[in-house]
Each structure stands twice: as C-alpha cells, then as structure tokens.
C-alpha cells in the first residue's frame, strides 16, 4: 500500500466489510439495498467519487461489525458487478474477493409483475435467473433490467 492509496482516505476498521470498486455514485444505493440506514449502531464510512484506474470514479464503503451474507453479495453483484469485497477481522484483510454473478437469486428481489404467483401470498420465494443484462422471474418470466434496485427485498 502506498500513501495515496484511496483506501487510506477512510479510516481502518477493526472488523467488518470493505466494499471497493462500487461504480461512482452508487454507494448510497448499495447501503440502501443492504438495509443499512444508520439506524443500527454499525459505523459506516463512505468514500464517494474516488479516482480509480478501473472505473474512472468509484465509491468505497466500510461497514464495521458486519460481514455480508450470500444473499447480500448476490444483490451487490447485480448492481455493482465490478465490486471487490474485503472481509476485515482484527484490522487485517481476512478474505478478499470479487463479487460473482450468481446464475440465480432467490428471495432477494420481488417480482415487478403484480399478477405473478410470487406476489399472491403463496409459499414460494421469488426466484430470478440472472441474464447477461438483467434478471428474469423463474415463475412468470418477466425480465427486469435497469431498475433492479427498486425491487430488492432483502
């Protein structure tokens, strides 16, 4: 690490998750879909529009005391496919990985089709197949593209 590594612009955390390489301007969206709204006691640091070789401008999030679950990672992969995730334990990077686009997301998104069986109070979790661009409801086959974040139900 060098002195101008952008990661140093936000303070180190003892344990939790650092999400790097979020497309510039989407940090608050990511917090929103992860359900982190400042109500809990987690310390959250946000770096916005940090210069990045890969993305031009990127956002960085540090969330203290919270490791992302698989379904949270799945949502993250849909809105920030370039993101890297660092799991921090004892001030050290315990795990570092790129998000992977899953082939399917279950229970993460609600189907936008009001007439879909998953919106009818049945014991079936909304399930989506991940396409090259967007996702598609396994049950009613509706395709969801740009506005995925509006349908997150984590």
């Amino acid at each position: 690490m060098t002195a101008d590594d952008p990661e140093l612009r936000v303070s180190k955390i003892e344990s939790g998750t650092v999400i790097d390489h979020i497309p510039g301007g989407l940090a608050l969206t990511v917090l929103g879909v992860l359900g982190i709204d400042g109500e809990g006691d987690a310390t959250v640091s946000v770096g916005m529009n940090v210069p990045s070789d890969r993305l031009g401008r990127k956002d960085i999030l540090k969330v203290e005391g919270h490791e992302l679950s698989q379904s949270e990672l799945d949502v993250l992969s849909l809105i920030a496919p370039e993101a890297t995730v660092n799991i921090i334990r004892g001030y050290e990077v315990a795990e570092k990985f790129r998000v992977e686009r899953p082939t399917e997301v279950v229970g993460v998104l609600a189907c936008p089709n009001p007439n879909c069986i998953t919106n009818a109070g049945e014991p079936a979790e909304a399930r989506f197949t991940v396409l090259d661009a967007g996702v598609r409801c396994t049950y009613c086959e509706t395709i969801l593209r740009e506005d995925i974040t509006d349908h997150v139900q984590v």
Binding site: I117, E122, A124, C137, E141
Partner: protein, 295 residues
C-alpha cells in the same frame, strides 16, 4: 416413448421429440377417439380450475374418459376451500391425493410452475394468467402440421402478440422446427421483450411487421389471434386497429388456399375459417404419454 417432462407447465420445456410423440399419438387417436377406452382404465385426472374455462375443462374431461379414466373435480372456486384462504400449494397437494395427474388453470402468471413444485404426479398447465397454455400450443401445432407441415414452413402470426399467450407458447414451440416466423401487429401490441429474448436465444428466424400485406404472399399459413377491446382506452381506437388487422375474403383475394388458423373464442376479425377440432385427441395423447409407465 416417455415424455422428457413430468410436468407440462410451459411449451418452452417441450422438446421436438416430446412434441412429435404427442402429435403422432394424437393422429392415431383422431382416427377413432372412441376406440381407446382400454388405454388408461381407472386413471383419475384432477381438475383444478381457479377461473372458468368451459371449453378446456370439457376437453380434458372428455380426453381422460375416452382413455377409460375419469375426473375428480375441485368444482367452482366459490364452493371450495380455496375461498376460505387455502393456498394454491395446499390445494394442489390435496388434489394430488385423489388423482394420477392434475390439470391446473389459474389467473396468476407462473401458478403452474409454482404448483408443480408441490406435487409428484404430473401437473398440466391449462392456462396461467397471461402466461403459458401448452396444451393449446400442442393443438395449434397439430392443426398447423396437418394443414401445412412444420419443417420448411413460413408462418404469419397476426393480431394481439403482446397479450396473446397462445402466441407466446406457439412461438417458443416452433423454434424446435425449421419454421420462419413473421409477426404482424400494431406497435402497441407487438411481442413482449421476454418472448423476443427467447426467440433470439433459440436462434429462431423471426421478422416483425406492422402490416400484413407486404408479407402475405410469402406465407404458407396464417395464424390469427384475437385483438381484444379491453386492451384499448376507447372503442374508436379499438375499432380502427381491429379493422386494420381483420382477415377476410378481401385480404385473402388472389392468395391460393392459405390455411388460416384461429384459436377460439373468436370475434369479427376473421371470416374465412378452418380450424381442426382435435382438442380431445391431442389431450388424450398428452395424458396417455404422461400416464405411461411407472411414476
């Protein structure tokens, strides 16, 4: 042969082999539908119709009875436990206890796919909202094959391509054959993105048009779907569009013996009409194949 699919929820899941097995057996049964009561004696078909569809219900009932079986019918929704708030999942599990196969008609899209996850007996989708209606598709394929063949066919599909679920199922199924599909509709009623996506993914030969006249001469058969008044904000707009896509003697003047196929129920956009009445033999064939062997 056995069907690759245990449940028939979507025409998309049917392989070419599945389709041909059903159509070939339907052709055998169509010769004399009354001669096959020894095929499935004692078989019970559960009917779960969450919305009325007299024609489809009667066709399935006739088919299983022609094979020597019988129906167990959930009856109208108002009179059943469904109205007391029982879920679809629970309802089909109950019917499964009485039946060797279940036919489901439901107003919500994806209902059959979901219901099939809760039962072990074959479940047949008889229509799920604006979604799929695979037995209608098999009937359409049977009719088209008899009238004009499938491989090498250039087919025009005209009318409401957006909401017409029979079109969506048929278009998927035709990708199993060497068929060139021409879709003709007003822009507001064009194929939905999800259907177009699948056709492109299947590498289907597809063209979309807003006018029938330029392509009419290339077609081997024409499939007409009903443009429904409720899709339009006012009656005058509906009349203008419905009139433009009406198929009548004038439209077909100079075209030699073009088979025109039209799923019921129909309204005024077609006068020339040639529809095979093979719903029962096709459903007999499907049921016979699904009930074949140990399950």
């Amino acid at each position: 042969m056995r069907m690759r699919q245990d449940h028939i929820t979507s025409a998309k899941a049917l392989s070419r082999g599945d389709i041909e097995a059903v159509l070939d057996r339907a052709a055998e049964f169509a010769g004399d539908p009354t001669a096959h009561a020894d095929r499935r004696p004692g078989a019970l078909l559960g009917l779960a119709f969450f919305e009325p569809s007299t024609r489809t219900r009667m066709s399935f009932a006739a088919a299983i009875k022609r094979l020597g079986g019988d129906i167990v019918d959930m009856g109208p929704v108002e009179a059943s436990s469904v109205s007391k708030g029982e879920s679809l999942a629970d309802t089909v599990r109950v019917i499964e206890g009485y039946a060797d196969a279940v036919v489901l008609r439901h107003p919500s899209e994806g209902a059959a796919t979901m219901a099939s996850e809760f039962v072990d007996v074959p479940l047949i989708n008889a229509g799920d909202g604006a979604g799929q209606h695979p037995t209608q598709t098999l009937l359409d394929l049977y009719t088209i094959r008899a009238a004009a063949g499938l491989d090498g066919l250039t087919l025009g599909i005209v009318g409401d391509l957006k909401y017409g679920r029979t079109v969506h199922s048929l278009a998927h199924a035709l990708t199993n054959f060497e068929v060139e599909q021409h879709f003709i509709s007003p822009e507001t009623l064009a194929l939905p993105e999800s259907v177009r996506y699948d056709l492109d993914a299947a590498g289907a030969a597809v063209e979309e048009h807003t006018s029938l006249e330029p392509v009419l001469g290339e077609l081997d058969a024409l499939y007409v779907t009903r443009i429904q008044q409720e899709r339009f904000p006012d009656e005058s707009e509906y009349r203008a569009v419905a009139g433009e896509y009406r198929i009548d003697a004038e439209t077909l003047a100079g075209i030699d013996e073009l088979p025109v196929l039209h799923p019921l129920p129909r309204i005024d956009e077609i006068q020339y009409f040639k529809q095979a009445h093979n719903g029962v033999p096709v459903r007999m064939a499907l049921l016979d194949l699904l009930l074949e062997g140990d399950r």
